[in-house]
Symmetry: C2
Subunit: 119 residues, 2 copies
DNA sequence: TTTACATATGAATACTTGTTCATATGTTCT
DNA sequence: AGAACATATGAACAAGTATTCATATGTAAA
């Protein structure tokens, strides 16, 4: 009952590929976290400025403390940032080296597309 | 009228950072494209299998031709894939080397988190 | 223990987005 | 020209999500 959409008589009919949907789902969820301007801004700020407290992030970005806190939770859950408490203040920093790497590659890509970088 | 949220008396009050919001918005839009399971599956399939036509992508993933076509448009608009017409058939492939790079780094990240890879 | 500060969170709302269904476009073959 | 095939697209609906507002938690100082 394999419902073929096309007749399969194409010149280029590639070898069967069996996608690992679990992996791909996790992967899309991972990238989804980068795909919001507030969250990528938080990542950017932590990437540039290193460890920073919530209110300084909010102040730097001009976004409400509540909104930042909500997004930090998502970033925390995804293990992209990690908190460190010092008294009343909680400092956040990037958790994983992959985060910086992906941020940088993505940035290079859009700078390249804008012609602001030669590569 | 610089409404400070915190009093700024923290031990670690970092140097002023001025985010480039235009860049960050573009960057988030870029990552947003990766952040959908259908689109990342398309990217995955093209990454593994190289150039492939629409109906083979749909067939491989078990997703309707219409849904694939809609998502291909988004990928095309973001310049992540490029089409090549051959008669009735349109073959798609990954457009930019950055796409593969980001896909691979992201995959490594989640495999690492799952403990399926040592790094 | 009150008061003030830093952060987190629940509920509600407004907005975005992915899929389906039906149909349109464009190509090839007869 | 007409039929069949491959892909694209518009409209509608459902589902997800980011922000705001109000408030709660937790910590430190008075």
């Amino acid at each position: 009952m394999d419902k073929k959409i096309c007749d399969g008589n194409h010149e280029h009919c590639p070898a069967k590929i069996t996608p690992d949907y679990d992996r791909l789902y996790d992967l899309s969820e991972f990238f989804k976290v980068f795909g919001d301007s507030t969250r990528i801004s938080i990542i950017s700020v932590l990437h540039e400025g290193g460890e920073m407290c919530v209110c300084d992030i909010a102040d730097t970005l001009g976004i409400s403390q509540s909104a930042i806190s909500h997004q930090l939770r998502i970033l925390r859950t995804a293990a992209l940032v990690k908190p460190r408490r010092d008294g009343k203040t909680i400092y956040y920093s990037l958790d994983d080296e992959h985060v910086s790497e992906i941020y940088e590659v993505g940035l290079q890509h859009i700078l390249h597309k804008r012609g602001e970088i030669e590569l």
